[in-house]
């Protein structure tokens, strides 16, 4: 095969068996890879009603056909499993160098089954895989684990590991690869911890074969050239300041979530946004594999109580550990980010859960004696302390470790949990980004901005700027964007480059560039319509898993704060998210019933009937 390595590695931790399987060429064609290949295996092999932390659940790591190639941003992979936080399907995407190394080690995917009796890690060295004892690594943070595994195997190996949070089954634990890149969302790290799998290390020197190398290089240059043209005109904001520059857009639109989404503007935003980070703590920009943008931030807080070094914060973290908890101290926020990376915690859910606790405290539903200390908005010291406690499941951290919805329910006020399908919202208030509100509610994994990232057009002006406050025009855009984003995640590319340079510059975002790169790499000769349909297929396959896990239209929802309480101030003042009105049209366009079920016809058309 070209583009694909043609091999799947299946690892059964219960009996220690490791087997290689051939990748079925038809499955590869129909689901591409990454997120697509993963949902194919999840639907086929995992009972949607299984215990997420039990032996029956599987953890699937998948690269795409463009992962590990010279394609711009061809360095992404997906971690897919049933989420312990939400009970829904989850797939979390990450970059860095691990995904490309996985591919070069000879595999398109790793399927991890069962549960080891004692902690182990998986070592894959150019096609040869073995399980190695990890009892001595249990308890170590993600950086220490990365150091130790590379020292034991190969210093050039790339790792994806869990920290104490994953071991202790914190329900929003992440899997950290290359030390500071996160497959963060919905508790993939807790599933790895439940399986007693401390990490995966890969080393590979194989080449991803190209069906038409000349054409691939030509297309690669063409799309990189588009980026270079834009960059020539002036400093590229993502390169210069990282994703935290996005605060400019959210703050000025009044959708920068502040104090658990009570409002959309944060008075201290200029102290924590991208330019402040560049000025105060940036050491250097850091790219993922084959990425010309380099939005990653290597940073250092040189002195003071929050001294430290590491990577981040990026935009979502500036929201979750900054404005959402009222913290305007960039040093505290950055330190909080470092701790999340080291302990292996999703920064979005961590911040959102602490914000929820702060609001419960503000309203007298949580007391100082519950927490052990006061918990006021903006308290950076408390933020850092609670993150440590959560990662170790100590003190009040043991309750935070269950996530915002379980915690808020425990204290009698689930309405303070800012979640959809149990997953905490990213950093955009859906009252001022109506399309994103629909996207949060219908994303198969729960509130994710990366399953059809409407802030691009509603806030950032890519590919064009539209009004975030209107709702009647959004359902067709959301459907198209969700489908194309599924394809990007299947191909092994990064959204940041793909949307702007590999799709046509209209709201249709027809993925012609992705098609050209995929065809040159794989020789599959995909048509544009076929690729768009594959995106639709992936989304619907995920929907099937979700429905079988017991979800229905009722969970295509948002907290009442967004649908019933108008934004109190700022540019979006007086506005609520018109979710119900948008949902009706969304289901129609998707070919789903008004109960949110894909019709038989729709499933047949997508080749999913009988799956």
């Amino acid at each position: 095969m070209y583009g694909w390595m043609g091999k799947i590695l299946r690892v059964n931790l219960s009996n220690g068996e490791i087997n290689e399987e051939a990748l079925d060429p038809q499955v590869a064609r129909d689901f591409v890879g990454g997120r697509g290949l993963a949902i194919y295996y999840m639907l086929k092999e995992v009972d949607p009603n299984c215990d997420s932390l039990g032996n029956e659940n599987k953890l699937i790591m998948t690269a795409g056909p463009l992962t590990g190639t010279k394609a711009p941003t061809g360095g992404r992979y997906m971690v897919t499993t049933k989420s312990p936080l939400t009970g829904a399907i989850t797939c979390s995407n990450s970059g860095g160098n691990f995904p490309a190394e996985l591919k070069k080690s000879g595999f398109d995917a790793i399927i991890v089954e069962g549960r080891a009796a004692e902690p182990v890690y998986l070592w894959i060295n150019d096609g040869k895989a073995e399980l190695k004892p990890a009892g001595h690594l249990w308890g170590k943070d993600t950086h220490e684990t990365d150091d130790a595994i590379r020292a034991e195997t190969d210093n050039k190996a790339k790792t994806a590991v869990i920290g104490p949070a994953g071991e202790k089954l914190v329900l929003f634990a992440s899997i950290m690869n290359d030390r500071d890149r996160a497959a963060g969302r919905a508790g993939v790290g807790a599933v790895m911890g439940a399986k007693k799998l401390k990490g995966v290390a890969v080393r590979g020197t194989q080449k991803v074969s190209m069906a038409n190398e000349e054409r691939f290089n030509e297309m690669n240059q063409k799309y990189r050239g588009r980026f270079k043209e834009v960059k020539k005109a002036g400093p590229y904001p993502l390169t210069t300041h990282g994703t935290a520059i996005t605060v400019v857009a959210t703050q000025t639109h009044g959708v920068f979530p502040t104090r658990n989404f009570q409002t959309g503007q944060f008075d201290e935003w200029e102290a924590i946004y991208g330019e402040a980070l560049t000025e105060k703590y940036l050491v250097k920009a850091k790219p993922c594999f084959s990425c010309p943008i380099a939005c990653g931030r290597v940073t250092k807080v040189p002195d003071g109580p929050y001294q430290g070094q590491g990577e981040g914060p990026e935009y979502e973290t500036v929201y979750s550990l900054g404005s959402d908890v009222g913290v305007g101290d960039l040093a505290a926020l950055t330190k909080a980010n470092y701790l999340c990376n080291e302990l292996g915690l999703d920064t979005i859910s961590m911040g959102s859960t602490i914000a929820c606790a702060m609001e419960l405290y503000e309203n007298g539903h949580l007391s100082e004696s519950d927490i052990g200390f006061p918990l006021e908005w903006g308290d950076g010291e408390a933020l850092v302390k609670l993150i440590r406690q959560t990662g170790m499941r100590e003190g009040f951290g043991d309750i935070l470790a269950e996530g915002s919805l379980r915690m808020a329910t425990r204290y009698g006020h689930p309405e303070f949990a800012m979640v959809s399908k149990g997953l905490d919202l990213p950093g955009y208030d859906p009252r001022g980004t109506q399309g994103l509100g629909l996207n949060y509610a219908t994303s198969p994994i729960g509130a994710s901005h990366m399953r059809g990232d409407l802030p691009y057009c509603e806030l950032l002006g890519v590919p064009v700027k539209i009004d975030g406050l209107t709702w009647a025009d959004k359902p067709p855009i959301v459907v198209k964007w969700q489908n194309v984003f599924s394809l990007i995640d299947a191909a092994g590319l990064c959204v940041f480059f793909s949307i702007r340079y590999l799709c046509d510059p209209t709201l249709e975002i027809r993925p012609e560039g992705i098609m050209n790169l995929l065809n040159a790499a794989t020789g599959a000769d995909y048509a544009l319509d076929e690729l768009e349909k594959i995106g639709d297929r992936i989304l619907n396959a995920e929907r099937l898993f979700l429905l079988r896990a017991g979800f229905d239209r009722r969970q295509d929802s948002l907290p009442e704060r967004f649908t019933s309480t108008p934004m109190p101030d700022g540019p979006a003042k007086g506005v609520v998210c018109h979710l119900d009105e948008m949902l009706e049209q969304y289901y129609q366009i998707r070919g789903w019933s008004q109960d949110g079920l894909p019709t038989e016809e729709k499933l047949k058309d997508l080749g999913l009937a009988g799956m």
């Binding site: 002036g234 904001p237 901005h449 990232d453 691009y456 806030l459 700027k465």
Partner: protein
């Protein structure tokens, strides 16, 4: 009439006196285009334009005390 202007990201360089948050005086009937012209912001900058935090375009009319936000497209978040 007087309007307030905030320039962000790559557009800061068009601030007339260095400060990227400032007021300018315009004739009545002015539009967002008038602001771009006064500040000598070229058309190919493709600025994101907001009036009082709401979506606007070059032809959007301005009134006394409006707050105009201009920034360059950002891809990522």
């Amino acid at each position: 009439m007087k309007v307030h202007v905030d320039l962000y990201v790559n557009l800061k360089k068009y601030a007339p006196a260095g400060d990227s948050s400032f007021e300018i005086e315009l004739e009545s009937g002015a539009t967002v285009k008038s602001v771009l012209t006064v500040l000598k912001i070229p058309v190919d900058e493709k600025a994101i334009l907001l009036i009082n935090g709401r979506n606007a375009d070059e032809s959007s009319p301005l009134k006394e005390k409006d707050s105009i936000t201009l920034y360059s497209p950002i891809s990522g978040g």
